[in-house]
Structures are given as C-alpha cells and as structure tokens.
Assembly symmetry: C2
Homo-oligomer: 454 residues x 2
Amino acid sequence: MKENLELFLDLYELTMAEVYFRYKPDTLATFELFVRELPKSRNWLLVAGLSDILDFVMNLKFEDKAIDYLKERKIFSQDFLNYLKNFRFRGDIWALPEGEICFANEPILQVEANIIEAQILESFLLNTINLQTSIASKASRVVIVAKEKTLYDFSLRRTQGKDAGLKVSRCAYIAGFSGTSNVLAGLTYGIPIVGTMAHSFVMSFKTELESFFAYSSCFPYKTILLVDTYNTLNGIQNAIKVAKELKRKGFNLVGIRLDSGDIVYWAKRARFMLDKAGLNFVKILASGNLDEYKIADILKEDPPIDSFGVGTHMGTSSDSPYLDVIYKLTQVGYDKKRLLPTMKLSEGKLTYPGRKQIFRVVDKSGFYVKDILALEKERLKGRPLLIKVVDKGRLLYNSPSLEKIKEYAKENLSYLPSIYKDIHSKVEYPLIISKALGDLTKKISKRLTKESQR
Amino acid sequence: MKENLELFLDLYELTMAEVYFRYKPDTLATFELFVRELPKSRNWLLVAGLSDILDFVMNLKFEDKAIDYLKERKIFSQDFLNYLKNFRFRGDIWALPEGEICFANEPILQVEANIIEAQILESFLLNTINLQTSIASKASRVVIVAKEKTLYDFSLRRTQGKDAGLKVSRCAYIAGFSGTSNVLAGLTYGIPIVGTMAHSFVMSFKTELESFFAYSSCFPYKTILLVDTYNTLNGIQNAIKVAKELKRKGFNLVGIRLDSGDIVYWAKRARFMLDKAGLNFVKILASGNLDEYKIADILKEDPPIDSFGVGTHMGTSSDSPYLDVIYKLTQVGYDKKRLLPTMKLSEGKLTYPGRKQIFRVVDKSGFYVKDILALEKERLKGRPLLIKVVDKGRLLYNSPSLEKIKEYAKENLSYLPSIYKDIHSKVEYPLIISKALGDLTKKISKRLTKESQR
C-alpha cells in the first residue's frame, strides 16, 4: 500500500473489528453500498469508482508503520494487531460496472465476507463511490446538454484536493468529455491533454498581438488564442492577423477562446469576422464559470461555439458536492448456510434486507422503462445489473479500458429516456420492489422490532 | 516528488512556459493569489494550506517519468525539456500564515520569481488554498456556533477523495475541532482519533444489549454506545445497564451517541435518565447530517449535549464547495529594477496592480476594525499580515506545529467582532484601498487601455 491507505478508515471500523475478533471471529456478513436519495438536481447517477476500489481491496495490507501507530494508541490487543498484520480480503464483491446508470436505493456494491473484512473496507468504498459517482453524474448532465459540442475539463485548480483533481478528469472523460487540462491525468490515465493560454500570458507582453505571435510561433499547430484580456473586439482582430500570418506559412490557427462578457454575442461576432477573413476553420472555445445550466442557456441561442471548457462547477459537483451514500448491513450470520437477512429500523433510515439484484426492464428499442430491486436468487425479466467482481478474495473482473467505459456510459445514457434528461425537472425513475423483497422486508422488520427490545 | 505531482498542473502552464523560455527567459513577474468574492454564506476566511504549499515548492522537481511523458506528447522543444529537468524554484513568496483570518481581495499568497517558475506553481497553489481554506472557513463557522461544545470530524466517508479526507481532518482541527475519526489523519498529523460504533455493529448481535456488553468489555475506558439502532428509549435503557455494570467494575462509560430522530428531545430525556441512574459522568454525543445551521438550531433549546460529530457538510463545505480563488499577474518586467505594475481589465474581472501588503487595524481591545490593502512599500498603521516565507528559493519560514496554528486561529477568531459571526447574516468587513494603490490602479488601467490596443 502506498501512502498508508490501509489507515484510510474511521477508527470505529477497527474498534468494532477488535470486538468481532474477540467475540465472533467467524461471522459472515453482507454489506450493501447505495445512495439513499438522489440530490434534488439529479435524475440519474453515472456510476464510477470500481477500478480504484478493486485496486484497493486486492492490495489491502497493514504495513508495519500502520501497525506501530495503532499499537502506540494503546487501544487494541496484541492478538488483534497480529490479525491485522496478516489481513487480506478473502470475501466476495458484486458491483455495478463503471459507466452503468443507477438510481436511489439500488446497490452499487455488495460485499459479503467475514464481518471484520467487510467492515474495514467501509470508508474507502464510500469515499471512492461518493466522489467518482458524484462527478461522473454531474459531468454527464453537462454532456447531455452540450450535445455534439466538444467538452474539456478545466477544473484542476478548484477540485477538492489532489486526488479529486485526478479523479475528476477521469470521471469527466468517462461521462463524455474529450480531454482535460490536467497533465497528471494525461500521464496517469492517458486522457488527451489540452490547453490555451492565461490572461497573465497576454499581459506579460507589451501588446496582445505580440503575445499572440509569440505563442503561435512556438505552437503553430496547436494555438488557441485568448481574446478577452483587454478588449474582445480588438482581441478577435488580433487573432485574425495571427491566423492569416499562420496561414501564409501553411498552418491553421486552432481556435480562439472567449472567457468573459456576453459569450453568445462575441461568438457570433467572432464567427462572422473569422469567416469573412477566410478563416472558417478557426474554432471558438468558450469558458468561464460554466455548468450545465449556463451551457443550456448559451445554446438556446444557437451560437457558433465549437467547444466548452468546463471547470469548477463540474469538478466539485457544486450544486450537490456529495451523495447520500451509505453502507448498510443486509445479512449477518455465523456461516454461509445461516446468513440471515437484516435491516436498519432507525427513524427515517429504514433499509431493505438481503443480498440483491437489480433487473432493468427496457422497451423494444432498448429504452429504460423501470428497474426491479429483487433478492439475488429471484429470476425476473430484465437485465441483471450487478456482476460478481471478487470471489473468495480472487479478482474475477478486469476493469475495461477507459475508452470502453466511456463507450459503455455513452450507450447507457443513450437509452435513458429523454424525460429524465431535462436538467430543470425532477423526474423519478420507477424502481419496483419485488414481491419477495417486499415480503422479506415486512417479515424482518417485524422480527427485529420484537427481538431487538429484549 | 512522490506521485509525480510536478505534473499537477494545467497544460497551458507548460506551453506558456515554453514561450517564455524561448522569447523572454529572464522575465520577472509577481503573481497574487486571492479570493475575488466571498461565498454568500461566508463573512470571513480562515486561511490554511501554506504548509503543503511550502513543501511542494521547496521539493518541486521534474522527474524522468514526467519528462518522458511530456516528450512523447511532441509539444515541447528538447531545450525546454532540458530546462525542466533542471527546474527548481528560485523566487520569493509572501503569504498569510495558516490560522490567519482574511477577506475578499486580500492576497493570500504573492509569488515573485522568473515568470516561468511563478507560472508553473499556479494550479497547485490554487488547488491547495481553495480546498484547505474552504474547509477551515466552513469548520470555523461550526466552531463559532458550537461555543464550548466539543466537535469531532466524522467526514471521511464523504470527502471528495483521499487527499481531501486527510486535509479536512487537519483543517477542521486548525479551526477548533478536537479530534477526528480518520485514522490516517491521526498517523499523518498526530490529531487525536475518536470513534464510537455503527448501526451495523449493533445489528450484527442478537440483541442491542449483547452488542453493548461486547463492545464495553473490549474497551471499558473508551466506550460510546450508539443508542438509536432500533428504539432510542430502549437504547438508552440498555446503555444505562451497561454503564452500571462498568461502574461496578470500576470503569466509567464515556458516552452515548444519538444519530437520528429528535436530537434535542432525546438528549434531554437521556440526560434525565442517566442522571437519575447516578451516571452524570456519561456524556451525550450527537451526530447525523449536522452543520452550523442545524447545530445552532439544536443549541437554541440548550439541550444537554456535550459534543457533536460533524461530517459531510463540513467536510465538503457543502454550501460553498469552492472559493473564487484566482492567481493574477500584478507586476511584470525584465529585471528587478524594471518590474512594472500591471492588472487585468477584462469585463467584471478587474484586479489591483502591484505587490501589496495588508494592514489590519484593531481597536483598543484588539478587535478587528478594518483592513487596508496597500502597496508593499507603504508604511501604514495596523498590523502587516503578509510575511515573507521564501527568499530566492530559500525557505525562510518553518510552519508552526498544528497546535500552534490551532491556537493562532482561535486567537484570531476571538478578535473578529461578533457582528461578522452571525451565520445567518452577510456582513462585509471593511477593506480600504490605500490612496497610493488606488492612484496606481487608475494610472495603470489608463495606460493599459491605451497600450493594449496597439
């Protein structure tokens, strides 16, 4: 484990583990990770995070540094610390693949293992699904709205930290973005990297024109000129001068960037001026505090914008910077045969018991009609969504390439009926509870209400 | 550099750097990092992030893996890649220390260096100040509201990624939290770690009482019992049984935790029941979707709650998950003597030119009255806030211990007049622009408007 990530957990996971270790070390349990309620402005979730989770789970070990730290806390028994030294995950995991679409109350992950092993994963699993699914879902809204326009992730400077910076680039790419400004994401994931120039660059030269010529002479194939540092009209005129000069030398200016003011007005005006100058190949990139709402507004007027650079709002999922992800016990027992369904009864926090499957029912054209949440052993119509990815600690599933995940997300989004894709409306997708699951829920609820009060 | 963080930057930083390298390699520049506008629900910022920034800047090197990746992109000249191989930061940095309080338009960092060196730091500096100052500021609101109640960070499961998980614990601690559930933050920063138990733990035993006895027998000095898994009244009664049993053995139950339902009602009822049973030492911890607003509401009724576990809302600064942080060129030139003030003129995005100092004016009791934003060379009344932390690439400043930073934040918060501390009102703290800075701004604006259009 790099970075001592084995301690990326809440203390209670270890203290509960010590109790399990002493009192019932052979207890099996099933935990389910899901989102209790979708945020107000989300009609679907685009699932991401499984690749990092499998990497974590398959490599989870407690190194000496971590054990020493725990020992110094004087909380744990030496026997339990020895157990941790030999820890590895030996259980089963079912998951939704990355790029799947899901809804509230649908399991994204199910972990069935010795209760200690299942418990110790909790914080990492929640944190990973929370961040990556939040961002992929937000980014997919931008993709839906932007239609055929090209999208770039420009969020690095304001993501919540370094890890988020990387994961946002990856999740935006899965959702349908075409590239990122984040060079480390390029190195790490092979995502295409893109860039323009900063206002400070233009300001550091005596004149805007001088800055444009300097940049374009270094990158004659790759120049996008930022035209709004001083006066946008002037900026466009200067960009035209540079484009003509490049053209004479056999190069095409890639584009201009608009980052402030009335984007629609300036895009139209710039397109007109560029075309008139015989520069119809020069593209127009818009940026500046964009999100799906602003892009939708901009596109209402059908401006000649080719691409958008989208930053902070996508990169923090700013209107909903977290999901109501939870990790709940759904079965518990002492051996495989006696694994008993259970559920949470706390006020307003009821959960469904048992190990489950989601069946997605589609119409003749493949469009999603409804999902059925059922017990795993049920055989219902519809495509089962959860797949087994780890069996007795052995990896069954190799994460597809990023390109494959991106394609899968695109395909899934294409089958989500358009009624759910209106970013301004809250429309709930139908999730049906199977009769068997419904009956079990009633039965367990009754039993627990009685038993728990002993 | 671990993790190839030298590539934690936007591509344009490197392409602009190549242009500078070829056209004006000896250009000096001053950049200023500040927040343009405070979020709606913030009247102050509690500064955090400097320690990580200094660590990054002092160790920034381009390793072979990064250089190889850049070379494969076929964007950069070999000369520039060679320059990067030998890169190190040789400039100056002024900064607000961690735990300082600041407001919109006040420089949090100023970097004066060769323009390439100053430019290459941009994304890391913005990202770091953005996350850490967002979280410290949000956490400080919770601290203000909670007054003498103890606060714990329970946010790990829903922070935006691994880096944020760690930094949130640190920033909450700086702001006045007493501990964290995040074990890795304990190891990394020496922050006290705390924990209780999960609902799943209670559910994994046949009865609640059995789960309570099992836990308390493992941790007789450190048990906090979660009482709302099934029926809160019953849970409190079970906790009392365990507390009495512990007491007979010479131990004190630390506390009970309420995580759902009417927290105020249950806190009062639990306190009454505990006291009646002679257990006045048992503390009451409340948790569950808390933020400064909910805590303020809860405390209106003066319930006997001793501490709060605060998670998601603090850990993502959910009502404002980013700051409007920017990194702007304020001076540029070819050598020290000719470093000329500059500024940004774009529509609605004007900035102030020149290298600056903030002077904080206080009243006789030390309470903040106003700040003056001035040119650095001015000598005004008030405490100068920005300190030089790096000189010609040499570290001048050792980050204080976390405890010292925490104390400094507490002291600073104590001198912020209470009018700003009402979490429900937006009150703007007075920032005065010095006459010299105002005059310079007018002069430069006029000059640039003229010159830039050449």
